[in-house]
Amino acid sequence: MQPTDIKNPEYFHKVVDCQYACPAHTPVPEYIRLISQEKYTEAYMINWESNVFPGVLGRTCDRPCEPACRRGRIEEEPVAICRLKRVAADNKGEVKPFMPQGPFSFNGKKIALVGGGPASLTVARDLAPLGYEIHLFDEQFKGGGFMRSQIPSFRLPESVLDEEVNYILDLGIHTHFNHFVHSMEELLSQDYDAVFVGTGAPKGRDLPDLPGRNEGAKKIHIGINWLANVAFEHTTNIGKKVIVLGGGNTAMDCCRTSRRLGGEFVKVVVRSPYSEMKASPWEKEDAMHEDIPIVDNHVPIEFVVKDGVLKGLNFEKVTPIFENGKRKLVPTGEPLVFIEADDVLIAIGQENSFPWIERSAGIDFDKWGMPVVDTLTHASSHPKVFFGGDSAWGPKNVITAVAHGHQAAISMDLFCRNLPLTQRPSPFVNLVSQKMGLHEWAYESDVVNDVRYTVAQADKKITLSNRKTEVELGFTKHEGCKEAERCLNCDIQTVFVEDKCIECDACVDICPTTCITFIDNAEEDELRQLLNMPALNTSQDLYVSAPLKTKRVMVKDEDVCLHCGLCAERCPTSAWDMHKFLYEVTKAG
């Protein structure tokens, strides 16, 4: 193998599994360390810089970081990264002084943002301090987009959302609420230098062809529309018996909201097996904790309507069969199953919808009605128009929308400055030794053996009686510190310098997880097998040195390295050292 090029920032970035997995590449270990030191304000600001909505995401994020967490590879559970973010948000002090302070001097450029969700707000936050005049349009009376209309208040209190939306709007954004943009052409005819479309995926999927759909229409609702109506208090109650169709997170929000609006017998019915449901495991658990059974392998066949009144649904039982690596749902042949319902919520997915963009506006759409958007620059075929969030490539999540917002903001800034969109700024990278003394490091190198802490919930009696009472209580400060200490500090990198090594084997002997091997070089496949512990997780890199004096090379398997620093501590010549690696995605400007 060729020696590893550690000067390429992407090598060490990949070692920080959580940060690498995060769409916005938030420096996770950095803020977790600050939480363990009770520096909540600083931890909040690191998050705010990167993911813009720490309080929101600390409650609602899809957590792509947690399945990636190294801790999950050496023991059962990853670090509770998401809920630690909330600890920072809950306990922070005054943060406004650390944010950009307006008014900013006008740079002569005007930007329109369509939609007031996380993607648009991120663009606004990145561009406002650069002097852009930003106009934000949203059909609702407040900003936040789907974070407001679809995430129920018992998961995300309105006050938290308002606070973080306002941090952005207070940067001097011109808001046009209660304003639905009807025409892209009209918008383009105005004097905006660039337009950002962050209108989400606003159209909930329906089951229009199911018998009884029209007859029972009064009691059959589209999940996301119904949630929005609840959020904006147009809907305040629901029948006692409720069926929620679908297995995603929206279905979980629908069923739990139903329980709070009068639903006593709420069931989630899903086509696929339980294990294949799209909802996050913790959301399924929370639903079941609220006495909501999840009925899997049931395909809806017809709405049963008698005398104009919805009575329930008939389902066909299916069983999953795997053929040629593909899963098929095959009817079991049993008689149809009837489940009673006063109301049915359809939460089987959502789609993009751009009725307001004229096909003559100069924006290309593909055959599925999706805009053609460049994956790097977020530019559409119209030079002035950029897309981000769910509206670009379909429904994802808040953190992805934020990541899109950052990239689109970079492109829009480049565009307004007449620079090529492909001239992306390099990340900000810093690598600095943590050595303080013979056995002293600037970070807590001890690896604690605690198992993951669980977040306490408020009493079910109280939370089910009030839609706005938050269910999760969040970690206490003490629990937050304890959970933060479970972090393995993967951003503290093991850096190896060949010409200092005397090949004494001290690092090999001490390494708790047998990561290091001195060996004759070979091709990667062969080398992986020959190490002291074979490196079978090919998603993790091997760190290979240049040839040493004995012609062997040092090979370190990054897979289960604990970043405990013992290799560096036992190294007599400092050939190993622990360096803190900071990687920040550079923002616009």
Binding site: V447, I502, C504, V508, D509, T513, L566, E569
Partner: protein
């Protein structure tokens, strides 16, 4: 500051025949200097005990005084241990072995503990062919007292303070062969590939197994001009041929070209396989082994590997003809024939 080794181990660590992972054979975190050769030898001992499927309670580790003699704290935490008086490890080992011959005795000593204060004990334990493995972690200096030359420091070797050693070195391997040790080997802490099979073979040997391991002292004797530094040893290493230890149970599948193959069956049925042996030298022949040691010394080379093996000699228990059962298991009924027998004997003398 780290005093604790994390408890997490590689999740896929293999187990041996007893169902233990390597971590079961580990000890406390070493307090020796970073990069000490002794730690590598500890690691080799851990690996050997794991691979030999040794039940930890069937092994006793004994040591004297010195950096080397601290190491039993850093391996085999679940085994018996005795840290004895300086240079007196052989007598304690002899006593323990006499009392219970069922254990494996692993003695760890240093160049000071063996070649200076313990020399008297060392030569006599060789003479008696006590069944034990005796490892000297030889760094050529007194590391615990800031690196004065020891009795194994080579003539002409330069110390860290720049002083050239005027005295002749004691060659422990040469001495051991001279005194009739039945298993004599030399190795290097930085070469686990060779050291681990040697330790395993030493544990299987029926008699006194001596391994002199050159183990650089990174703090006081790893300077230029020292003949026990990592660089010097690597440059002057002359392996006597690669070889492997094959336990009795395993089928031997390796095929060597004729003339290159050389296998020795050990007392317990396990095999030592050599490969590419020097034609001039036969590890079963004491004269040839002594010649090889002398030649290496002349050529300024460090000869490593199994230097000499004598399987015919009887170990101490055979020599003094003890009973089959370990002495510590003999009860009063076994040892005292009773009044009746005494009366008969007395009567016979009247």
């Amino acid at each position: 500051m780290t005093f604790i080794k994390p408890k997490f181990r590689h999740p896929d660590l293999p187990t041996n025949k007893l169902g233990y992972t390597l971590s079961y054979y580990e000890g406390a975190l070493s307090t020796l200097c970073a990069g000490c050769g002794h730690d590598s030898i500890s690691a080799a001992i851990i690996q050997s005990a794991f691979e030999m499927n040794i039940e930890p309670h069937k092994l006793a580790k004994l040591s004297g005084i010195g950096c080397s003699s601290k190491t039993p704290a850093y391996f085999l935490s679940n085994s018996h241990g005795f840290n004895s008086v300086h240079g007196r490890m052989p007598s304690v080992a002899t006593g323990a072995n006499m009392a219970n011959k069922d254990l494996i005795y692993l003695g760890v000593s240093g160049d000071g503990d063996t070649a200076s204060i313990g020399m008297g004990q060392f030569v006599h334990v060789i003479r008696r062919n006590l069944k034990m493995i005796y490892i000297v972690m030889n760094n050529g200096c007194y590391g615990l007292t800031k690196g004065q030359d020891s009795a194994t420091a080579d003539n002409g070797s330069i110390s860290k303070s720049g002083i050239v050693n005027q005295f002749q070195a004691i060659d422990l391997c040469g001495l051991a062969i001279e005194l009739g040790a039945t298993f004599v080997a030399q190795s290097f802490s930085g070469d686990k590939k060779q050291l681990i099979p040697l330790i395993k073979a030493g544990m299987a040997h029926n008699g006194f197994a001596f391994i002199n391991v050159i183990s650089p002292c990174v703090t006081f004797n790893n300077n230029k001009g020292s003949t026990k530094s990592y660089d010097f040893v690597r440059d002057h290493l002359e392996a006597t041929g690669t070889f492997d230890f094959v336990p009795e149970m395993e089928e031997i599948t390796t095929n060597y070209e004729s003339g290159e193959k050389h296998a020795i069956k050990l007392h317990d049925g396990s095999l030592l396989q050599f490969n590419k042996l020097d034609n001039e030298w036969d590890p079963l022949d004491r004269f040839s082994a002594m010649k090889a040691v002398h030649q290496a010394r002349e050529k300024n080379e460090i000869i490593t590997g199994l230097l000499y093996l004598n399987q015919k000699a009887m170990d101490l228990h055979e020599l003094v003809n003890t009973c089959d059962r370990p002495l510590n298991t003999l009860k009063k009924e076994d040892l005292c024939p009773g009044n009746g027998v005494l009366a008969v004997i007395n009567a016979g003398l009247r």
